[in-house]
C-alpha cells in the first residue's frame, strides 16, 4: 500500500550507524555508490554479513542489492530478536564490528536477544570482545539497561586470518533508555585487564602483562592484568596474542584500550607480497604500547574513551525526552560521523561546548524519545 519513499544516501561510510538508525526509526534507506570506484566494487563481505545479521533479527525486512553490489535498498522490518540465533561474522572484520550495532538493536527488540557470534574475537581494528564486557556493558547500565540480562561469554577466541572464535551474547530489552548527566570523569582508581594468547606460548602473555605493569606502576599500584591462555578448540584457527586494558575511575567511568597482534588476512597479504613476511610485534612492545595508549586516553579525559564516543552519543540520542549531558575527550572522527548520522536520522542535535580548561568537550542533547515499540503488551 502506497509508495515507499527511501532516504537516499551515498557511499559505504557509517554503514553500521545508518542501518541501525534506519532500523530503529524504521526509515527505508537507499544507499548508492558503495565502493563504486574501487577495483573490486560493491559491498564488502563484512557489510553483507552485517545485512544478513539485520535480516536475522528483524521481521519482514527487505534488502535489495544490485548486481554490482554498489546499490543497496533497505526497508527495515520490526526488530524481533529471540534466542537460539547463530551468526557467522566471517573473517573480514572482527565480532566487535557487529557487536556495536547489535547491542542497540537488541535493546529495542521484541524478545530478549540471545545469539552466538562466530568469527574473529580480537582484532586491532575493532574493539575486542573483552572491551565490550569490561567497558561497554557498564556504559549501558548508565542508561538504565538492567545488568542482569547483559551477558557476553567468550567460548573460544579467534584471531585473524582464520578466526574460529565464538561468543555467546545476551541482551535484555528495555522499554526506553533513561537520560543521564554524566560529566564527572573522576580519577582513575584501578586498572584491570586481560592478556590472551591463542596457539602461542603462554609466556608471551606474561611478557605483555609485565611490560604494561611497568608503565602503570609509576602511577597506580592497583593494577591487575589477568592472563587468558587458550589452546586447542578454545583457541580458534590462528595464532596471535593481544591485551585489553580498562581504567576505572572513582565516578564509575571505564576507559579502555585494546589491541591484538596476529598475521594479516589473506587479501592484505597479497598487497605486501613484494615485502618479506611481516614480523609480528614482540609481546613486550605490545604491552608497553597499549599501556601508553590507555594513558593517552586517560589524558584526553571524558567519561568514555574515544572508541565508545559513537555509542555514547547514540545512547544519548535514543533516550527519553530529557536532557542528557556527557563529557568526552577530543571528538573522534567516528564520534563526529555518528553525530551527523544522528542528526540526519533522528533529528537530534547536540550542543557541543568545549571545556578549554580540561581540553574536553561537553555535549548536551534532548533525547529523541525512542520507545521500544515492538515489545508486546500483555
Amino acid at each position: 500500500m502506497g509508495k515507499i519513499t527511501y532516504k537516499r544516501l551515498k557511499g559505504s561510510q557509517n554503514m553500521r550507524q545508518r542501518l541501525l538508525l534506519a532500523t530503529l526509526k524504521s526509515t527505508p534507506v537507499l544507499i548508492e555508490d558503495i565502493h563504486a570506484d574501487d577495483t573490486l566494487p560493491g559491498l564488502r563481505p563484512h557489510e553483507i554479513s552485517l545485512l544478513r545479521l539485520f535480516e536475522k533479527l528483524t521481521d519482514d525486512c527487505l534488502i535489495e542489492i544490485n548486481e554490482t553490489g554498489t546499490k543497496l535498498k533497505y526497508k527495515p522490518g520490526i526488530i524481533v530478536g529471540g534466542s537460539h540465533l547463530v551468526h557467522d561474522c566471517g573473517v573480514s572484520r572482527a565480532i566487535g564490528y557487529f557487536l556495536e550495532p547489535l547491542i542497540l538493536l537488541g535493546l529495542f527488540a521484541r524478545k530478549t536477544l540471545v545469539i552466538i557470534l562466530k568469527g574473529i574475537t580480537n582484532d586491532s581494528k575493532d574493539p575486542s570482545v573483552d572491551t565490550f564486557r569490561s567497558t561497554t556493558f557498564p556504559l549501558l547500565k548508565r542508561f538504565g539497561v538492567p545488568s542482569e540480562g547483559l551477558k557476553l561469554e567468550i567460548k573460544s577466541r579467534g584471531v585473524s586470518p582464520h578466526g574460529g572464535g565464538e561468543v555467546h551474547l545476551a541482551i535484555p530489552t528495555v522499554q526506553h533508555l533513561t537520560a543521564t548527566m554524566w560529566t564527572d570523569e573522576g580519577m582513575v582508581k584501578r586498572i584491570r585487564g586481560e592478556a590472551f594468547t591463542t596457539r602461542v606460548s603462554v609466556q608471551l602473555g606474561n611478557e605483555m602483562i609485565y611490560a604494561a605493569r611497568g608503565i602503570f606502576n609509576r602511577l597506580l599500584p592497583d593494577v591487575y592484568i589477568a592472563s587468558d591462555y587458550r589452546k586447542r578448540s578454545e583457541a580458534g584457527n590462528s595464532s596471535g596474542y593481544g591485551i585489553s586494558l580498562v581504567a576505572e575511575t572513582t565516578s564509575g567511568c571505564c576507559i579502555s584500550a585494546d589491541t591484538t597482534v596476529s598475521y594479516p588476512r589473506g587479501d592484505e597479504e597479497e598487497d605486501i607480497e613484494g615485502e618479506e613476511k611481516k614480523e609480528l610485534i614482540p609481546a613486550a612492545d605490545v604491552g608497553e604500547k597499549l599501556a601508553s595508549v590507555l594513558l593517552e586516553e586517560i589524558e584526553k579525559g571524558g567519561v568514555v574513551d574515544s572508541t565508545h564516543q559513537g555509542l555514547l552519543f547514540l545512547l544519548c540520542a535514543l533516550c527519553v525526552n530529557d536532557v542528557s549531558k556527557v563529557r568526552v575527550g577530543k571528538l573522534s572522527p567516528y564520534g563526529i560521523e555518528t553525530l551527523r548520522e544522528i542528526r540526519d536520522f533522528l533529528d537530534v542535535q547536540f550542543v557541543i561546548k568545549p571545556d578549554p580548561s580540561t581540553g574536553t568537550v561537553i555535549l548536551k542533547c534532548w533525547g529523541s524519545g525512542m520507545k521500544n515499540l515492538s515489545r508486546k503488551t500483555t
Binding site: 575493532d126 580519577m187 525526552n321 550542543v351 578549554p356
Partner: protein
Amino acid sequence: MAMDSGADGQSHKAHRSRHSGASAKKKTKAKNKDQNSDQKQQNPKAFAFRSNAKAKRLQSRAVEKEQRRLHLPVIDRSYGELPPFVVVVQGPPQVGKSLLIKTLVKHYTKHNLPDVRGPITIVSGKQRRLQFVECPNDINGMIDAAKFADLALLLIDGSYGFEMETFEFLNILQVHGFPKVMGVLTHLDKFKDVKKLKKTKQRLKHRFWTEIYDGAKLFYLSGLIHGKYPKREVHNLARFISVMKFPPLSWRTSHPYLLVDRFEDVTPPERVQMNSKCDRNVTLYGYLRGCNLKKGTKVHIAGVGDFSLAGVTGLSDPCPLPSAAKKKGLRDKEKLFYAPMSGLGDLLYDKDAVYININDQFVQYSKVDEMGGTTNKENKRDVGEDLVKSLQAVKSPIDEKLEKTKISLFSHNGRKRRKAIFGDGVDHSNLKSTDEENEGDEDDDSDNDNDEGENDRSNEDNESCSGSEFSDGDEEDLKSEEDDRSNEDNESCSGSEFSDGDEEDLKSEDGMGNISKWRASLVERASKKQNINLMQLVYGKSASTSNTSANEVKDDSENEESDEDEFFKPKGQRAKNSIEGLGGGNINTEDCSKSTKISELKNWKEEEVYESIRDRFVTGDWSKGALRNQMSEAKTEEDDIDGDFEDLETGEKYESHQKDDSSNGGIQKEDDDAIEERRLKKLALRAKFDAHYDGSESPEEETDVQNGGKFHRSQANDSGYYDKLKEEIELQKQINIAELDDLDETTRLEIEGFRTGMYLRLEVHDVPFEMIEYFDPCHPILVGGIGLGEENVGYMQTRLKRHRWHKKVLKTRDPIIVSIGWRRYQTTPVYAIEDQNGRHRMLKYTPEHMHCLAMFWGPLAPPKTGVLAVQNLSNNQAAFRIIATAYVLEFNHAARIVKKIKLVGYPCKIFKKTALIKDMFTSDLEVARFEGAAIRTVSGIRGQVKKAAKEEIGNQPKKKGGQAREGIARCTFEDRILMSDIVFLRAWTQVEVPHFYNALTTSLQPRQKTWQGMKTVAELRREHNLSIPVNKDSLYKPIERKPRKFNPLVIPKALQADLPFESKPKNIPHRKRPLLEDRRAVVMEPHERKVHALVQHLQLIRNDKMKKRKIKEEEKRKEFMLLFNTFS
C-alpha cells in the same frame, strides 16, 4: 486594627439559647447522647483490638488501601507556559451548546458573542486560559473533539433524557484517554412538577454515574432568563471549571498537537487563477499542546491526511496571560479573548504582517473595549464601508441574534480584515517581526536598532494587546517607546536572544542608548558564534555563512586539497586523510570506531610526561582532580557569558577573544561578579525546588546534586518508592529546565523544538483544494504530530471487544472504520482468538461477549493505544454507532492468523493396511510436503501419509495409456480401510489479512455528506438486491435410508453337517393345505350355547346404553359450545 477597635468599643448582644421547644429538646438529647458516649469511651481498652489476627487484618487492609491509591506518576515534560485548556461542549442537537458557550464567554469577558464558530480562547484567570469548542454533531467531529478535549461538558436535555450522542461521546472519550468530564443538564424549566423534576434529576444522575463513576459531577442549569442561562448558575459552572485539574494523558503527552483556531489559504493567487483545483498551501495557527514540536516532524491533519511541515514559526501569543504582578483578580483589560474563526478577537500577528480583525457587530456594540480606538480610526478612513456596516448593524439587534445564529447556515464571513499601516515603509517592515528575522543580515546601525525594536515589540505585544499604539503611525513615537521599553523587556523576558550575561551589562548601560545597544548586539552575536563553533564543525554551517571562523576555513582548505590530490595518493593514505579532514570527502570511509594511531605515542616512561597526568589518578592530588570537575561545571554554566563585556568596553578586540576560544587554548578569565550572580540564581532555584519538596532533602545533598551532577538515587530519604520516583522525576525536570535555559533561543529551538504553549503557525503545502472549499469553522481542525515510526504501515494486532450495545456481531473482513491515535481510517480486520498453544485461530465472527484479537493493515500506532471502531457514519441512525473498542497489542509486518483446512481424499487401491489415496493432493510435490502428516478415515481409523505413490502401483490410467496421475499418496493405517471410506487430513492454513486501508477524508467533502468508503458485503447485496449464495451441499436434508436387503444366510453343507441339531437349520416344507386343527368346526353344548347367548345379550344392552349416553353428551357439549361462542 480597625476590627479590634470595633470589638472593643461595642458590646454585642449575647446569644440567647432556647430553653424550650423543639430545638431545645434536640440539644438536650444530643448532650445526653454525648455524655453516654463519653462514658463509654472512658474505657479505652474496650476499643483496642482484642484479637491479634483482627489487628493484623485491619492493618494490612489499611496498607492495601494506601497502595491502591497510588498510581505510577506521569511525567509531564511540558516546560513552557501552559496552553489554554480545551473545553469541548458536546451534546445532541438543540440542547443549548452554543448558548452555553456564549453565556460562558459573556461571563468571562463581558462580550456578546454573536456566533460560535471555531475555538474561542479566553483568559479566565491569572494562571488559566480556556479555549471553548463546540463539538460538531457528526461522529467524525465527535471523535476528533475527543482527541483534543481537556474537559468535556456533556450537555443533556433534561426534559428528554439521555440521547445516544452522549453515550457515544463518552465511549469515544474513554478510548482516547479519558479527559475530565462534566455533565450539564439543560431544559429543566420544562418540568412543571417539582417532584418530577427531582425524580428525573436523580434518575439521570445515577445513570450518569454508572457510566463514569459514582459521584461524577452533573451540573444543573435550571432554565433561561432573557434567552441566557441564569448568571448565578453560569458563575458556578465557571467556578467548577476554574478549579478543575487536568491530568496529563499518555497519548497526548507523547505527541505534539494543535487545535487550529485560525486557518488561512496562502496559495499564490495566480496559481489558483490558473487552476482553481490546484493543490493549495495553507497555514494553520494554534497553541502547541502535548509535547515539543520539532521542525522535521510530520503531522496528520485529521480528515485530510499526512503532511510534512513546510514551515513552523512561533508567533507571539494572541491571548497572553496577564503579567504576574501581585493583585487580586483580573483587570478588565486583561480579560482578553481570541476567536478568529468567529470573527472576533482583535489583532492577528502573522509572520509578515499584523492584522486587525473587525467584526461588524462588534464595531456596533462594543465601543467601550480596547478595540474602540482602532475602529474609530477605521471609520474615519472609509466612509463607504462605514455606511454598509451601519446598514448591516440595523439588521441584527441583540434580541434576534440567537435566532440568527440558527438560521445563518451559509454566511460566515461577517468580518473584514485589514492590514494595519504605519507611516513609512521601513517601520512597517520592522513590525512584521519574528525572531527568525533577527538572524538575517544586519549591517548598518539603524537596521540593527530596528531589529532590536522588533524583539522588544514582539514581547511587548504579549502583554498589551491594545492596538492603539500601533495606530499612532509615526516612527519617532515608536522609537521612543522602544527605548523606554527595551530595558524592561530585557529584564523580564528570557525569551529574547540575549543571554543572561548580556542583561546585566545592558542594565548598566541604560543611558547610552543606541550605540551601546548596537555594540551589545554585536557582542552577543560574537558570543553566539563561539558557542556554535564546534557545532558548526560537526554539523556543517548554519545560516550565518559569513561568520566562518579561522579554524574552520583552514579545515575546509585541507579538505579541498585532499580532494584534488585524491588520485595521486595511495589507497591507504587517502582513507587516512579523509578521516583527518572530517569533511566527508570520501564517502566510502571504513566504518571503524577505533581510531588510535599507535605510532604517535608519547613516551610515558619519561617522568614529566607521566607526571602530567598524575592528577588524573587517585595517587595524585585529589583536590586538583576535583577542581578539574568543579571548574568545568561552572564553566559550562557560564558559557554564555564568556564574552566579557568589561573587556570589550576597554577596547579589547573580540576577534582575538574568539580565536582563543576556538583553539581551546586559553583559559578564560572568570568574572567573579558573574560567578556570584550565578550562585545566587542557583540558590534561588534550589529554594524553589526545596519549596516544591517541602524541604525533605538536606541542603548539603542538594548542593551535591546541583554541582556534581551526581545522582543520589540510593540516598532517598525514608519515604517509600513512590516518593522516590516522584522526586526523581522532579529532579530530572529541574535539570532539564536548567540545562535548556542555559542555551540561547535559536539553539534551544533546534535542540528541543518548539515548547508547548507556544502559539504556532504551521505552513503546509500541497493540501487538496477541497480542504479550503469545504472548510467549515464549526468543525475544528486537529493537527497531530506523528511520532517515531508511526508513518509506516503494517499489520497491527489489537485486542478487541464488540460493544455491548451494538446489536450484531462483527464479521471478519467486513470493513470497519477505526480511530487510532490521531487517525481515522477504514480497514478490513480479520478476527482471531488465541488458542492454548499460542496459535491465532481465525474467527468468522467476533465472540458475543468476549475479547478477541483483530488483525488489520494500516498506519501503525504504538502498543497500548486505544482503538475505536465504527461502521456507520450517518447521522440518521438511531442505533448505537460504536461497534467495538480495542487497544493495540503489537504490530508486525507479517500476519500470523491461521484457519483450519481439511483435505479430503478417497482410496483408489487398498492393500492390507496400506492404501493409495487420490484427490487429496494435486501434485507429488505437495505429497512430499505432507509426508508424515496424520490422517483419519470417517470411521476413525488413523493413519499417516508416507510418500507419493509409485507410478506402476497406483496409476491405472497409465496402464490404459493415459497420462500418469500426480498427487496419489501412499498412506498406512492402523487397520484395513474400505473403498467406501473417506480419508481426511486436518491441517492449518495461513489466512491473508487484506492489505487495505482507506484514510477518512471527511474534511475534503461537504460536511453534510456522509463519507462513503468500502461497503460491506451485506450492504452491497442489499443494494443490488442479491440473495445470499447458498451452497446446496451445505444444506440439511432429510436423511433417506433405503431398507437394506440382505441375502439369505447360506451355511455350507459341510458346516451344517458338523453343527449340533439345535443349531442346524430346520427345513420345514411349505404346506399347501391348512392343518386339520385349523379346519375343524365347533359344536356347542346347550348349556354353553345359553351362556354364549346371555353374554351376547348383555353386551348388546351395554352397547346400547353407551350409545345413548354418548348422544346425550354430544348434545350437552353442543349447547355449551354455543353458549361459549356467544359469550366470547
